[in-house]
Amino acid sequence: MGQILKVDNINVYYGAIHAIKGISFEVNEGEVVTLIGANGAGKSTTLQTVSGLLRSRTGSIEFNGEDLAKIPPHLVVRKGLAQVPEGRRIFQQMSVEENLEMGAYTRDKSELEGDLEMVFKQFPRLLERRRQIAGTLSGGEQQMLAIGRALMSHPKLLMLDEPSMGLAPILVEQIFDIIRQLNEAGTTILLVEQNAQMALSVAHRAYVLETGKITLSGTGKELAESDQVRKAYLGG
């Protein structure tokens, strides 16, 4: 199992606010790694920095041995890194199929049909709603579409930002089942979640983020059993 992502000492600022204070972590091929932490801890900021939407002032972000620091965000996905952004951010006024097509923007057009089939097999609901305008989908369906859209680029590493946000408990279960399935099928996953319990249940390894710093790390099981995490994030 080789290392796929290595984030080393990144510092990110929003104007004068120091949001990420020297974070380092890594993701190995085949793993599910999760970053957990409270609202405002810097989880989403970290993911956005990895995909190039935000820039770090220091350190490096190595993906498959290549430094991403100087690569513009629209080229990052070509390297094999896809992000399902927080709040899903699907293209509301475009159809389900068009959203998926946008996910395959960097792919060869001749492979579109096959890629669509792959996603529709994973998410049969999307096939039923293929021509529907994405904004009219339910929250769970929109999350499926956001994940399906990211899968269209055949990522080596899939980054999910709060996939459970705003979903009913039953749908949260479904989304985490999907994450498990995707990982079993060979996709490496970096997951950011506020729902620590669910996240730790699927993760091989986990990092705890507090106000821009990593304060704890270990296997998913270790952290789920740690007193500190139980008190802070798992409700006792």
């Binding site: 995909s51 190039g52 939407l53 513009p72 965000p73 629209h74 080229l75 996905v77 070509r78 896809a82 992000q83 952004p85 951010r89 699907i90 293209f91 509301q92 006024q93 475009m94 068009e98 097509e101 946008m102 996910g103 923007y105 960097t106 057009k109 859209r149 990211a150 680029s153």
Partner: protein, 292 residues
């Protein structure tokens, strides 16, 4: 018969507004900015095509193509030099820059082509007579209306069917998400400016062929009216620009014919204000409430 003739001239004028409004609305949809220099690109298109026909003796069709090429390049340069550095600046800064670019283009034209109005040679002359010669429709009117319909169809197909067109829609909804898809947002914005400017060149040729006079401020009033048309129809909406343009042309022509030539412009803008009072997002625009 008189009414029909006014109606046709209104639709023809409206077609020019619609072609210009398409440029406004596409740029607004994607870059979220009002390019007030758009009207002056029309004027540049007029001068380039006139120079090509008179001084270089090129056939009209070649002159039109040349004007389109020059305006496309001009549009992309304006975007790259003046607007791109302001991509994350407040929208007021971009708006003022656009007004600055507008004056820059007008004054450059003043330097190059002088202040005196030049008489424009229509790209096509003559008229078609129907109903025993009672109704005469100039070929330039027919050409204008046909161009508008063709442009509208091609643009709609482009936006809905091609990958680049879909990427434009994606950018107009959410630039960050579009980047995550691998879409080069800057390039997409440049392409939008290129298309809008090429359309402005066509509008310039059609407008000057109908009104046969050209000076550095020629683009300014039609530019503002086309902007009005775009807002009237619902800014950001392509069918809205088309509908707004045509309606505005008809209202203007009818107001000139039946009310007062002097008041025509006031009536046009009064209609806009009334429409916006009732439908703030324009005729076909979607009212999107601010998310909290």
């Amino acid at each position: 018969m008189e009414f029909l003739s006014y109606l046709i001239s209104g639709i023809s004028l409206g077609s020019v507004y619609a072609i210009i409004a398409l440029g406004y609305t596409m740029v607004y949809g994607i870059a979220k900015m009002l390019n007030f220099a758009h009207g002056d690109v029309i004027m540049v298109g007029g001068y380039i095509s006139l120079t090509a026909m008179l001084s270089m003796n090129l056939p009209p069709i070649v002159a039109v193509l040349l004007a389109m090429v020059v305006c496309t390049v001009l549009g992309v340069i304006i975007e790259g030099l003046a607007y791109k550095p302001l991509r994350s600046a407040p929208s007021l800064a971009v708006l003022i820059t656009a007004i600055g670019v507008s004056y820059f283009l007008q004054n450059s034209a003043l330097l190059v082509w002088g202040a005196n109005p030049k008489s424009y040679t229509p790209v096509i002359e003559g008229a078609m007579k129907i109903f025993d010669g009672k109704l005469s429709i100039s070929y330039i009117s027919l050409l204008t209306m046909a161009s508008c319909i063709v442009i509208m169809i091609v643009l709609t197909l482009f936006i809905n069917k091609t990958q680049l067109g879909k990427a434009m829609r994606a950018c107009s909804e959410d630039k960050g998400a579009a980047m995550l898809m691998g879409i080069n947002v800057n390039r997409t914005i440049s392409v939008t400016f290129a298309i809008g400017s090429a359309l402005a060149a066509i509008a310039g040729v059609l407008l000057c062929s109908s009104y046969t006079s050209l000076m550095p401020t020629t683009g300014s009033m039609p530019g503002i009216k086309a902007f009005t048309a775009a807002v009237f129809g619902g800014i950001g909406s392509i069918p809205g620009a088309f509908l707004g343009g045509i309606l505005l042309g008809i209202i203007e022509s009818m107001a000139k014919a039946y009310i007062s030539t002097q008041l025509a412009n006031s009536i046009v803008f009064a209609v806009l204000i009334l429409t916006l009072l009732i439908r703030p997002a324009g005729l076909l625009g979607k009212y999107v409430p601010e998310k909290v």
